[in-house]
Assembly symmetry: C2
Homo-oligomer: 321 residues x 2
């Protein structure tokens, strides 16, 4: 793990050097250095190493997904008018929207330039996989925005949306590493679906933590999703399960033009508790996590070789394996 992080950090430094001449170099570097867990590139490197190949061979792919992820963040932040990201000003806030659009555009091109560095025998399939995922991520963001104006969103629609917006890029990262390692296609696909299930599980956890996080562990304001009426798994489940007085209460607070924030969070949370939403979400999250683990188990390499992936998955889902 340490050596992979070192490899990755060096790759990011090299990327910042390679893009130094661009008009958006400052913003690109700012984004790349905001930090974050670097989950996606680590998944790519781990997956490659797992099949006995030098993880350095997957570095261009790992950097490509990290650069792509930052492209999607900088554009999403404009669309969501988010002022902050990881405790710092967003690019459109610190500079302006036009600069943020172009920064993202250049980074999307850069992601392809990184993929072009892969060995020619794996480059084509890596690019095809990546392009499919890239369109899906944009589709997911479009769906997510559409939910705001939709009166009814089903649980299935929600799961489809987070699959596109969040989960496929984790699957893509893992499969890219497997492609570089020229792993058997069955195992590469297992890893893809492992990543997708893990990603859904992770997003469900995120929804749960918005309401039920303890103390500082979450790093965001508790109840932010509740205050913005965000259609998370919890709210969608509540809307599907509430009837009678509970339905009325829920609708009242969702439509309240000027609620007391603490009161709204408290009332919606206790409604979730009454309706058993917390447990329902946890069960769903567990199911996806278990499915993910089954898929990883089905990849026929030594248990030792899978350790880093088990460990990263555990950390992501706040478990220690």
């Amino acid at each position: 793990m340490e050596s992979l992080i070192k490899l990755l950090n060096q790759g990011i430094k090299d990327y910042n050097i390679a893009t130094k001449g661009y008009q958006t170099a400052e913003q690109q570097k700012y984004l790349m250095n905001l930090g974050g867990k670097r989950v996606r590139p680590l998944l790519a490197l781990m997956s490659c190493e797992m099949f006995g190949k030098d993880p350095a061979a997957a570095l261009p792919a790992a950097l490509a997904v990290e650069v792509f992820h930052n492209f999607s963040l900088v554009h999403d932040d404009i669309m969501d008018q988010a002022p902050m990201r990881r405790g710092k000003e967003t690019v459109h806030q610190k500079w302006n929207s036009a600069t943020a659009i172009l920064t993202g555009d250049v980074m999307l091109v850069n992601a392809y330039q990184l993929l072009q560095q892969l060995d020619s025998d794996v480059c084509k399939s890596a690019m095809e996989l990546f392009s499919t995922a890239a369109v899906q991520v944009c589709d997911g963001q479009m769906l997510d925005m559409g939910f705001e104006n939709k009166s009814h969103v089903s649980i299935q629609e929600y799961l489809d949306m987070i699959t596109l917006k969040t989960a496929v890029l984790l699957g893509c990262s893992l499969k890219l590493g497997a492609i570089v390692a020229q792993a058997p296609p069955t195992f590469a696909n297992h890893l893809y679906h492992f990543g997708v299930k893990l990603g859904i599980s992770f997003q469900l956890q995120d929804d749960i933590l918005d309401v039920y996080a303890k103390g500082d562990a979450f790093g965001k304001q508790i109840g932010g999703d509740i205050l913005s009426n965000k259609k998370t798994f919890l709210l969608i489940s509540a809307l599907e399960n509430a009837t009678g007085e509970e339905k009325k209460l829920l609708d009242f607070w969702l439509r309240h033009p000027n609620p007391d924030p603490a009161e709204k969070v408290e009332i919606i949370t206790s409604l979730y508790n009454k309706l058993g939403i917390h447990q329902q979400a946890k069960t769903m999250m567990e199911n996806y996590y278990t499915d993910a683990m089954d898929l990883l188990a089905a990849v026929e390499v030594s248990t030792d070789a899978k350790k880093p992936l088990y460990s990263l998955a555990g950390k992501l889902l706040h478990r220690e394996n």
Copy 2:
């Protein structure tokens, strides 16, 4: 020419079908059907055919540059807050900025997906060329926006900017066709620089026509650049050449918070005339055009094979060859 347009139109139809499932399909189709001269994809097809190769082989590359061009238009229009494009509402105006950002993002990915369809022996170099041009186009837009807040822009800075923002994509289109045809690298590079010079010449013509167009030929409001104080070749030259009273007059009208539009256009135009700016711009445009023609002449294929390119270049620069 007719057969190339037919080939291209079919390609655009197929593109619209292939992207039908996307969340941004409607906007993508709207953009692709706004029309325009389709200069870039035609250049790619013509350049391929010129070397005796079936132009259909270059269709994915031709479509890639057209899709990329539309990506850059939809994002530029957001940045420039342009309400109209080719007589129709822009995407961000008709829908919203978030949708327009995502439409562009998906189209940039699509451009790469189209390039991935090229034969594997030319795909890699086509992608490298394309990626370089793509970053340059974004850099050019960034520079152009920066000019608005810059007190002094030199003619060289202006030429560098239009080279990036407009000209390199024409060069890239032509070279892509040559790469697909596996033309000798020297000729492929001649065509690249032919495209770049042609593009600069075309942009200078655009600057001139804003002020000196006759009647309906231009299709835009005369003096639009003057009214918005846009740093075109004409204004930059005027700022460099004006002294004394003329300088004072120019500064007065540039700083006038609420000028009468017709009066401002008239006064600035007569100032351009006094300073010989019209002639200066025409000479510059002619020089780039001549350089372009020399480069095309140096490509060793039959004159007959070059005819379509000569003809398209002539039409672009309002000449009949």
